[in-house]
Symmetry: C2
Subunit: 420 residues, 2 copies
């Protein structure tokens, strides 16, 4: 494709935000510019915003190298994100026609979507429709999710930074728990994100080091949760030590498929646009049980949105890979790929070496990659050394925040928030 | 006092841990060594541990300069802390006799206690008893509390690091809140520590900067909380913006003196050794009300023990001041002071300049320093620029964590945890 023919690019962000998703945006922007594209548009709140005619010219936001560095260090989805699920083509063909009309008006050659499972579903459907309708627009996905549950890729950008924050915070929580003695002991339950996959919760094991025993128990959603067994283990631990720290995934469930919070009659059911149950309060529920049954003190700590937004504790490997993956997605689209997603392929754990490849998005969308059962201990209460070998390289190095007045600075353009 | 006569020092930590309390311990140790003391003992779990004969020789723990640097970067009370309130002397004189016998056996000249209000009560009583009993042991207090509520000192070590973490995290939470749109808007309520004083909660305003509007509302315990007024304000904000972020102190209470959580019938009452009610769930309580009455999405985020243990985000000013204050306490005791506490005196906001002085602990113990009413806006929903001018210098600079395998390293000696 000759340079003269290049027109415009549009990029969007979708799904849960991360500390690294904006680094991918920076990578897309930089590569689009270097490869001679005219304008790089950003969809406001993803495909949903595009349908509503909401987009910006990114050159008004990323004006120089410092802006690019700030963007890499800015948590959350800079462009705004969405959880909009495209209907199947046969269900609402007019919607697809509208989207493609819009893309043609904007003279788009390449459409890059940064997101997780549900976002890859969008790439799949749009690239399918391009084939059906004879459009030349290329649709490429750029992986992103702290959940690390995308198929075919070794890991996803965003995971490493969340893992680093979780390992660091759990270590600090454990150390803090040593300070005060309590008569009947205490159990601290740290609730970590991850509905189906335990990648994030397993990262709590990173707290284990020469100077820290790590959490005492780690429960991933990959293994059925047994309340009686849990109570027994906590009771046993409390007979040996005064402070017990447990890391649990928000998504742990019993053998009959019930989320732990569903055992709580006072719980609230909230279902998102993708039909996923929203979970909160798992740790609190367990703490109430622990105090009631064992008479110990208990404390529930939810890492909440802090774990996906903690740019101040980002992993350098993660932020740089996110940037590279953004660039690779743009490169793939520029070179004619469509209906593809960039994946990270690891060639070595130590020294850590990894590169990118391009894979068919049809093999990725709506699939979930779980923690392998043999990376979890037999009794289901910890991760194995294989898990640690896997995650350790992804949390290496720091990205110094650009501090202004003692607080990290993020990228912001006057009036920008009003667009969101 | 000539150098030959110097015998031993004992130091303890008490009250809630902080990210800076160990830096004070390092300061005490270094100054005791430099001033020619023989042994520096550390009480395990403060005065309570001393009574139980639990103490260590700190030279087995701080062996070189690197250990000292690690200690400065280690959160939580290295020696373990306690909430043990000494009875009045006339209530249990035998206890005092036992403590002083122990101190004499250990050949103690100086007793340094690092802590907050309740800990200064311990210094007051022990120094009083020394006078009564004719003991030459000097008792000096070293201030520490994230709550920043000690009388007579400009601020307390530990506060600056907690404030920096709160400002940083609230800014990241706000940014994260921009990412997803919700139909009826969302309110995020961030619960921050502080039973009586709003110093920590006010620090949420540090998130406000050129690139961030800061939280929309800040509620300190110094001002009576009005539920109806709160609901009205949130409703009004939601009519203008899709995402509202509110920072509240765990200790906010209504005009009739009821904590907000006490309005919750399902709440649990837990009272600590000092008769303080343990508060949790204020944010959750408000979120439930918000969703029920306004129909909006809501999310409660408790910064929990993360805010007092986040050494990875410590303020350099704070860590260095904590170190200096530890040294100043040791110096004061060495030079004959007793029944005193070291205070920090600020001479200038900009450029920030401060030094230490020694004050009578009788004027400090059991007193609480609140945020001045005129540092809170008239309507009681934010802090003023005076508050920011006060806190800003205290969060300046970083203390690079010493990273090992991607996670901050803390000081630890094999077998140490078993002592706690």
């Amino acid at each position: 494709m000759s340079k003269e023919k290049k027109r415009n690019v549009i990029v969007g962000q979708s799904g849960g935000p991360t500390a690294a998703i904006n680094s991918s945006l920076a990578g897309v922007y930089r590569t689009a510019r270097e490869r001679g594209y005219n304008k790089v548009y950003g969809m406001i709140h993803g495909i949903q915003g595009l349908v509503e005619d909401r987009y910006i010219d990114l050159s008004n936001h990323i004006k120089n190298g410092l802006d690019e560095e700030l963007l890499k260090r800015t948590p959350s989805a800079y462009l705004g994100s969405c959880r909009f699920k495209l209907p199947d083509i046969h269900q609402d063909q007019p919607l697809y026609e509208r989207i493609f009309k819009k893309l043609d008006e904007l003279e788009i050659d390449c459409f890059i979507y940064i997101g997780g499972n549900d976002s890859m579903d969008t790439i799949k459907k749009l690239s399918d429709y391009a084939i059906i309708s004879g459009s030349a627009i290329r649709f490429v996905g750029c992986p992103k999710t702290i959940d690390n549950d995308l198929a075919l890729t070794d890991h996803t950008p965003g995971y490493g930074s969340a893992a680093k924050y979780i390992g660091t915070s759990v270590k600090e929580i454990i150390r803090d728990s040593w300070s005060l003695e309590t008569e009947k002991g205490q159990v601290i339950v740290v609730e970590i994100m991850g509905r189906d996959a335990g990648w994030l919760t397993g990262a709590a094991a990173l707290a284990k080091s020469e100077d820290c025993d790590g959490p005492d128990l780690i429960y991933l959603p990959e293994v059925d949760f047994d309340m009686d067994e849990f109570m027994k283990r906590c009771k046993n631990l409390l007979s040996k030590k005064s402070s017990v720290v447990v890391a649990i995934s928000e998504g742990i469930h019993t053998a009959d498929g019930k989320y732990v919070t569903e055992l709580d009659e006072g719980g609230v059911d909230y279902v998102d646009a993708f039909g996923h149950k929203q979970l909160t309060g798992t740790a609190r529920f367990l703490c109430n049980r622990l105090s009631a049954e064992l008479g110990c003190k208990s404390r529930a700590i939810e890492l909440s949105t802090l774990q996906r937004a903690a740019s101040h504790c980002a992993s350098r490997v993660d932020i740089l890979e996110a940037y590279e993956v953004g660039g690779a997605a743009m490169k793939a689209a520029d070179e004619g790929d469509s209906g593809k997603m960039v994946v990270i392929t690891r060639t070595s754990d130590d020294p850590y070496q990894a590169g990118t490849e391009v894979k068919d998005v049809h093999k990725i969308a709506n699939d979930v990659r779980l923690v392998p059962r043999n990376w979890i201990t037999k009794d289901g209460t910890y991760v194995t050394s294989e898990f640690i070998t896997y995650v350790r390289p992804l949390i290496q190095g720091d990205v110094s925040p650009i501090m202004v007045d003692g607080i990290p600075r993020h990228l912001w353009v006057p009036g920008f928030q009003d667009l969101l």
